[in-house]
Symmetry: C2
Subunit: 453 residues, 2 copies
């Protein structure tokens, strides 16, 4: 009897598998042939462009998001308020004297940083390669200087997000570290894997206890030149910038679209990317890609007439880059409404060919998903072993302790473009972008129909 | 006793595994931090550029190849003669009248094709979507016309090489098919996954029995416009081109470098790409990437002091694109010298992130390689299931029946650039290119030390 049940069970399982495999193929065909995510990304990048939180461009992006979300055929589309900070860049210049004369170089002030109030800050440049070297310097050698933190992105790490995690502390924290010893400014080598000269911006944060000194980043080629010059000594810099944090928060929104579940509509699966970007380039990869992929999931379900058991919610989060106010507002709302989230998924690692889905789930849940691993192989997805979530869904995880997941695309190119003027549509490939949306829709279909537990 | 042996065996196996894993890491670190393949590709693409077989540029590429091969530290570097065809493009124009006036459009004559001898060929354009539609047309509707074969690259196929295999017959064979019904010329939609207007060239071949009519390709955007115009009817075209095959073969060479094996130097592992390219763009991805990766394998062995048991031979094959004369010369030489090749490996699928190594081996050999699968996972390589070889190593396979393998990089972008003016260095990512070389060196190390049988 047990054997019969087992055989019956196996038969059912393989029938389900075949059925799922068929739906997976339909999802893929629909998106690869008729997907709108790439065209949507073109509109976002070319008509809105970059869109830092609180800016007029971000407000325009919300309008675009709401309109585009409606075009997916979502059952319900709405805006969720979140007040966000607004960091303003303004004009900026960096001149380096690495020989006899000053030359202006490409540089970007780091996000959230305080500039020079439009005045010229002139000082000698001293170079350190890491915090240990900096700690070993006596205060007398730092006082009144601009410190060049010349830490290289570790190219030997195959997963570039590990290299980023390793290097990013020099972007976020070095001004406060340097100010403690009396430095007047900081220059950093960008968190960049590229062999070009694009400087990378990104978030930095001051300690309350230290002076807010300016921070600028260099692309790798200029950083190499500065490194050589600093080895000889006598390098001077002139910084001039207007950047500052605006005094008041600005009203803004998450854009949300939903397909109502047929069997358990109270159970929600959230998939999202972030709508804001840094104020350079077009925010194509970071994270226009994630926004259009999240909306593509809704569109493909509607186009194929798939009526999921659970409610599927696509969220374009506001203010991921410098405050996570959108993610916080989402978590607060879910908490106050006693919403039940099965899982929240983020796509914020670029529109590259998918390779895996990382998960912050328990062992049993991971095992369950891994049982379906072979279904994903024809789409190039093989890796379900990593821990992964995302900045926008971290607040709801903290508040409601729900499972998280994150799309893991190929990561080799991400930190070539991340937070630069080179993060433009032309560096996103339409097939890679669509394939990421395919895998997200497949994963969400699977979780909706089979559950996680 | 058996159990003890088994445990001992497992212990040894896992010790070997740990040892291999360490060497894999060393290979990766060396190439990711100090690899020269990207810099070498820069020199090839920017100082030689495209290099069709038989051309002065191809001769220059041979000089570059020999010099660069020597810089790897190879024990022996030599040239292997091969006489190759030389197809000459010259000037070319295509004007389409899709409304009231003729407009010149971007177009490329297909490789090996005969042009219009510099005269204007003017005719009405008729469109078919595939060979079945063409077969159904009466001769009277074809005679004197230019046939537009408007077959779309199947974007629903996730492995783009499958889409290419499906579509490429319209590039290779349509002029002879069309000429049989009296057509005077052929226009094709390029074998292109791209959302741009770059036309793709590539090899075509005439049947001996039919007239040699000219063939030109269009990028997807112009092909879309022509499709719309043809649906309305009354489209005219004027072709003018000088392309032709030169009457005589031209002396040329494969470039070969070797590291002599320490234990079984008579056993050879060949790794190669092709040095020739089509006469557009820079031949960066097809197949400058494969050439510099093959040389990187020799360099990393030398740099790390790895002394392989077997002889490792890197080959830059000449004339892959339109004749395989280099591959043939290599096979003939190996045959006449009674060489023993363990395996021949080709890298000619672009310098993108590696995902697998396809193999044309027997079941037992595949099983042996798959036992080492986990060693490759940290480098993003998980797929050893496909049958794969390469055009340059096909002749030696036919002649000596040896195992073959081919690097399988991510294939989503390949047919955006393949055979176009957009196949330039800027579309090859340095980390992806290096990672491909890492995996090739690891695979070759494994086969050299563990054998295939």
């Amino acid at each position: 009897m047990k054997l019969v049940l087992l055989i019956l069970g196996l038969g059912l399982a393989s029938a389900c598998f075949a059925q799922d495999s068929l739906i997976f193929r339909k999802i893929s065909n629909e998106i690869m042939l008729h997907g709108t995510c790439y065209d949507n990304l073109r509109v976002l990048t070319k008509t809105v462009g970059n869109r830092i939180s609180g800016s007029p461009a971000a407000a325009k992006a919300v309008v675009w998001g709401e309109k585009t979300m409606k075009e997916t055929g979502a059952d319900k589309v709405y805006l969720q308020p979140a007040n966000v900070p607004y960091w303003y860049r303004g004009k900026e210049h960096l001149w380096l004297k690495m020989g006899r004369k000053y030359h202006e170089v490409e540089a970007l002030s780091l996000g959230n940083s305080q500039g020079t109030n439009g005045k010229i800050l002139k000082a000698e440049v001293i170079m350190v390669h890491n915090y240990d070297e900096f700690k070993a310097l006596p205060e007398s050698e730092v006082k009144g200087k601009i410190v060049f933190f010349n830490y290289r992105f570790r190219q030997d790490l195959i997963l570039t997000f590990e290299g980023y995690g390793d290097a990013v502390k020099y972007r976020g924290g070095s001004p406060s570290v340097a100010a403690e010893k009396g430095a007047v400014g900081v220059i950093i080598r960008s968190m960049s894997t590229a062999v070009d000269d694009f400087p990378h911006t990104g978030g930095m944060y001051y300690k309350d206890s230290t002076k807010k000194i300016p921070e600028m980043s260099l692309g790798n080629i200029t950083a190499d030149a500065l490194e050589k010059a600093c080895e000889k000594g006598g390098v001077m810099a002139k910084m001039k910038s207007q950047c500052h944090m605006m005094p008041a928060l600005v009203p803004s929104y998450n854009v949300i679209g939903e397909i109502k579940g047929t069997e358990t509509p109270e159970k929600i699966i959230t998939i999202g990317g972030h709508l804001d970007s840094w104020d350079v380039g077009e925010g194509a990869m970071d994270d226009g890609a994630g926004c259009v992929q999240s909306m593509e999931v809704l569109r493909v379900f509607k186009a194929l007439g798939i009526r999921p058991k659970c409610t599927i919610r696509a969220v374009l989060f506001m203010n991921e880059e410098n405050g996570q106010k959108g993610g916080q507002a989402y978590a607060d709302s879910a908490f106050s409404k006693h919403e039940k989230h099965i899982i929240a998924i983020e796509t914020d690692a670029g529109g590259f060919s998918p390779r895996g889905i990382g998960m912050n789930v328990n062992a049993k849940q991971r095992e369950k998903i891994q049982r379906y691993k072979d279904l994903f192989l024809p789409y190039g997805v093989y890796d379900f072993s990593h821990e992964e979530g995302g900045s926008d869904i971290e607040p709801i995880h903290k508040k409601l302790d729900i499972p998280l997941a994150g799309l893991m695309p190929d990561c080799q190119r991400y930190f070539d473009y991340h937070h630069t003027n080179n993060d433009i549509l032309e560096n996103v490939n339409h097939r890679e972008l669509k394939l990421g949306a395919v895998v997200l829709a497949q994963f969400i279909y699977l979780v909706s129909e089979q559950g996680l537990d």
